[in-house]
């Protein structure tokens, strides 16, 4: 039995740590893929291509685990693999229990990864192992009526025409030698006689002979290095084989070999870094710690600031040089001055002589100055060029570093296939999950932070959004509900939407609830617009559910979801139609660290708004401005938006009370809500490195942080979502509803 106790049971040797992290990453990814395959197979159990693919993945997990001597994983994977082998050959049909068991195995593999990461021992899996072993026995062979896809009664059954023959059997990653079952990895050390002639060829022979017994996983030195090795004395080989020790010894003992050791300890010294001189050794991918990327990003941030400073300096110098109109004019001036002086010297005599001579020496100095100016001007032109170059390089570097942090949202979204299935089963609802835009990329940190809010929204959609089956049928909807997770990039933002085709938000319920909770008076509630009512969803502890279920009751509330999203400089909006469904739209910046902003100057400070929050910049004439109940509303092409001065949003200590002349109106939006803000002097757009205000100070409502401009001045960064909130709220208080 493969799970019998062995030397390094459960705990990989120390020097395997490097392999271990690769193993953990790889297995993690393979588990993700397996889950997807299994879930797809659940509805189409005869999909031969997917079965073959699942088989290949299990086989590969088994192989890697065996390499590390993780026997429990190997054993479990082995039996699962055997079962899938039979499924692949068509002698068995994939059934519910198999999928269940396979999912449990994957859970175990993932659990193992967690423990391995923490250097803990793996837990035994005997019970699960038994269950997996029994899989083949409980299902009658080739039973065509096996309970397939019991959870999907309405799905059209796949025509049972094609057994597994159609697609060619997937080739496993490693060609498997005949005795699949008991293969394990042996470490073999072959010693050659000192000064052996043609040692490289002998070594190749050893490898070839051992290859006949199984698969050579690794050799040290590698075959390609044999010829270049100065003296080949020992050859370490990792061989995956089922052959006996004596068979291996015989195979390895070619002429010139003075010793063969089996199951040697792996070399104690850390493997020398792969020789960088080796032309063939091309590194295609590399795993880099996120913190290293963060350091790089911070440095790039500093670079962006100093680049801005250079650009600023060059811009400031330009008029100086222009005004001095160097070269030509000053050269001309000194030249004519010199002619004049020389004329005086020629025509005059006596006491003027000395004065003229003094003039001449001064003139020489002036000429020297002029040359310096010219030199300076030439250098300035070079400087301008260099700064341009620096700007281009800095921009590419910034894009490059940012792109290293970008990862596709696919894995994040795919995780929900499993959760949706589990939650739906738990609640007895039939739900399919649709995914779109898995290739959309987002900052790694955001991906990490998005998990929890998304889980909550998805749970919420299934628990509260989707109606029970009978209600759905009564409403003429398909019994199978759909939850859709879609990601897309729009400019500098990434949009993630979570929609369901459920009942939508019951606004009357929200109204009652808001009154019951004392959030508004009954009178006020009666006049609230649908959008205002919807906004109550974000109130802490606000729920329209009659009872807190164990699904939506645990975890975070909607208010926390919003807080989390806003902490990522994002926004979230709801679009809901009663009886039709609800869509949550999350809008996030591509990255958190650097924001492209529109800058304007107020009397008190320079202020920046991320460009993705600027919908437009318009000039507004007085006849477009209406005053309703003391609040101003601005008509922008037929859309009435609240219009405010910055001073209405923020109160400043000791503000000079004279209103600045209105220059333009900036339409700031967060999600679908927008407000118009008067700004006086616009400074243009600039990439800003976002710095925290509360790190040393405190959070200020309406400000998302601060940044440093090219000249070292601190500018304030608006938090568009909070600004919109502030304006909406102050307007709601006085707005007169017709």
């Amino acid at each position: 039995m493969a799970d019998s106790s062995r030397r390094n049971q459960d705990m990989p040797a120390d020097d395997m740590a490097e392999f271990l992290s690769v193993y953990i990453d790889e297995t993690g990814e393979q588990c993700d893929q397996l889950v997807q395959l299994l879930l797809a197979l659940e509805s189409e159990p005869r999909d031969a291509r997917r079965i073959a693919e699942a088989f290949r993945l299990i086989h590969s997990i088994k192989g890697s685990a065996a390499m590390l001597g993780l026997d429990r994983i190997t054993g479990l994977a082995h039996h699962l693999e055997s079962h899938f082998e039979r499924l692949r050959s068509g002698s068995l049909l994939l059934d519910g229990p198999t999928i269940e068991a396979a999912l449990r195995c994957i859970d175990y593999f993932r659990h193992c990864n967690d423990r391995l990461r923490q250097g803990e021992k793996l837990e035994p899996v005997d019970e699960l192992l038994e269950a997996v072993k029994k899989l083949g026995q409980t299902t009658p062979a080739a039973g065509p009526t096996a309970a397939t896809a019991p959870t999907l009664p309405s799905a059209p059954p796949t025509p049972a025409v094609e057994p597994a023959v159609a697609s060619p059997p997937a080739t496993p990653a490693v060609p498997t030698p005949p005795p699949v079952g008991n293969a394990r990895v042996r470490r073999i050390r072959v010693q050659f006689a000192p000064g052996l002639a043609m040692a490289d060829l002998k070594a190749e022979l050893v490898l070839a002979r051992l290859g006949g017994l199984g698969v050579v996983v690794e050799s040290s030195p590698e075959a390609a290095e044999f010829a270049t090795s100065t003296e080949l004395r020992t050859l370490d080989i990792m061989l995956r084989t089922a052959a006996t020790g004596s068979a291996i010894t015989i195979a390895a003992d070619v002429d010139g070999v003075v010793g063969v050791e089996l199951d040697v300890e792996p070399p104690a010294e850390p493997a020398a870094p792969p020789a960088p001189t080796e032309a063939g050794a091309v590194v295609e991918t590399m795993r880099v710690g996120v913190e290293r990327l963060d350091v790089l990003l911070n440095l790039v941030g500093e670079l962006v600031v100093s680049r801005a400073r250079f650009v600023q300096l060059v811009a400031d110098m330009a008029p100086l040089f222009r005004k001095a109109a160097v070269g030509g004019r000053s050269g001309g001036t000194t030249h004519s001055l010199r002619e004049a002086v020389e004329a005086i010297i020629r025509s005059a005599s006596g006491p003027i002589d000395r004065a003229a001579a003094a003039c001449e020496s001064q003139l020489e100095k002036l000429e020297e100055q002029g040359r310096l100016w010219e030199e300076g001007h030439r250098r300035y032109a070079e400087l301008v060029e260099s700064v341009d170059h620096l700007t281009r390089v800095a921009d590419s570097l910034q894009r490059g570093v940012l792109s290293t942090r970008m990862v596709p949202v696919g894995p994040l979204l795919n995780r929900f296939k499993r959760s949706v299935r589990d939650i739906a089963n738990e609640l007895g609802k039939n739900v399919t999950l649709e995914l779109a835009g898995e290739k959309t990329e987002l900052d790694k940190r955001m991906i990490d932070e998005l998990g929890d809010p998304l889980v909550h929204l998805v749970r919420n959609a299934i628990d509260h959004g989707i109606e029970p089956a009978d209600v759905r049928l009564r409403r003429g909807k398909p019994e199978m509900a759909t939850v859709r997770l879609a990601a897309s990039q729009r400019g500098n933002s990434v949009i993630i939407s979570i929609s369901d085709d459920g009942g939508g938000i019951d606004l009357e319920g929200v109204r009652d609830r808001a009154v019951a909770r004392g959030l508004v008076s009954a009178d006020q509630a009666a006049s609230l617009s649908p959008r205002e009512l919807t906004d109550f969803i974000w109130q802490p502890g606000f729920s329209t559910a009659k009872e807190v279920s164990n699904i939506s009751g645990r975890g975070v509330g909607m208010d926390i979801v919003r807080t989390r999203i806003e902490a990522l400089s994002g926004s979230i909006d709801i679009d809901s139609t009663l009886g039709v469904g609800t869509t949550f739209v999350i809008r996030l910046p591509l990255t958190l660290a650097i924001a492209r902003c529109m800058l304007f100057r107020m009397e008190q400070a320079a202020v920046a708004v991320p460009v993705e929050n600027v919908r437009e910049l318009v000039t507004v004439t007085d006849d477009c401005i209406l005053s309703i109940g003391g609040r101003r509303v601005c008509d922008i092409r037929g859309e009435f938006l609240p219009l405010v001065e910055m001073d209405e949003i923020f109160s400043w200590p000791s503000t000079a009370a004279e209103p600045a002349p209105r220059g333009a109106v900036l339409v700031i939006h967060s999600g679908s809500r927008a407000v118009a803000v008067c700004v006086s002097s616009l400074l243009g757009t600039q990439d800003l490195v976002v710095k925290s205000l509360d790190e040393n100070f405190m959070r200020i409502r309406g400000l998302g942080g601060a940044s440093i401009l090219g000249d070292g001045e601190v500018c304030l960064l608006l938090d568009a979502s909070a600004v919109v909130d502030i304006v909406m709220r102050s307007h709601a208080m006085t707005e007169v509803h017709p």
């Binding site: 500093e302 200590p653 205000l693 790190e695 040393n696 001045e713 601190v714």
Partner: protein, 172 residues
């Protein structure tokens, strides 16, 4: 013989402070709290903060708040001049700037010259007054930067007014 003893005693029982002045009154901060002293550079005003917060400033890439201690103590504002300085103080994990009228040099004061604040002063909400000290002809108020500049404590300090406006003439 006695040339050995006194320095030892003094060394063990004295502490270093940075002295500064606001409206003619001299104050002390413990030197361990001080990161550096800078001439007041450009300060960007921030909204929705009490008047004693002058704004935020760029300290080599870090954004720090600048507090005007005059305004914090409820004294009238005063134009910055050549003597105006910002003392950069470390308060917990935060770094903050304190604008003061002038900074004198580092002072070493024997511990036995420092008298703890009378209860009446502390009860007044002036927990930031750590004590009083006399050095030469000057009477200093020793301020505890942490409780003075703690964001939660700032408001309390402001309400209580100038710490130790009427320091006891003879510390008990």
């Amino acid at each position: 013989m006695d040339s050995v003893r006194p320095p030892e005693v003094r060394q063990a029982a004295s502490a270093q402070f940075v002295g500064f002045e606001i409206a003619g009154q001299k104050y002390l901060f413990r030197i361990e709290r001080i990161q550096e002293i800078i001439t007041s550079g450009s300060v960007t005003r921030v909204p929705d903060v009490p008047a004693y917060v002058v704004g935020v400033s760029n300290l080599r890439g870090t954004i720090i708040p600048v507090i005007d201690l005059r305004l914090l103590f409820g004294l009238p504002a005063r134009e910055s001049d050549a003597n105006t300085r910002t003392i950069v103080v470390n308060v917990g994990s935060r770094t903050m700037g304190c604008m003061v009228d002038a900074v004198s040099q580092v002072i070493r004061i024997p511990v036995d010259q420092i008298h703890s604040a009378p209860d009446s002063v502390v009860a007044d909400g002036q927990r930031s007054v750590e004590g009083f000290a006399r050095a030469g002809d000057d009477l200093f108020i020793l301020l505890d930067a942490t409780s003075l500049l703690d964001p939660a404590g700032l408001a309390g300090v402001h309400r209580a007014g100038v710490p130790g406006v009427t320091p006891p003439d003879k510390a008990s």
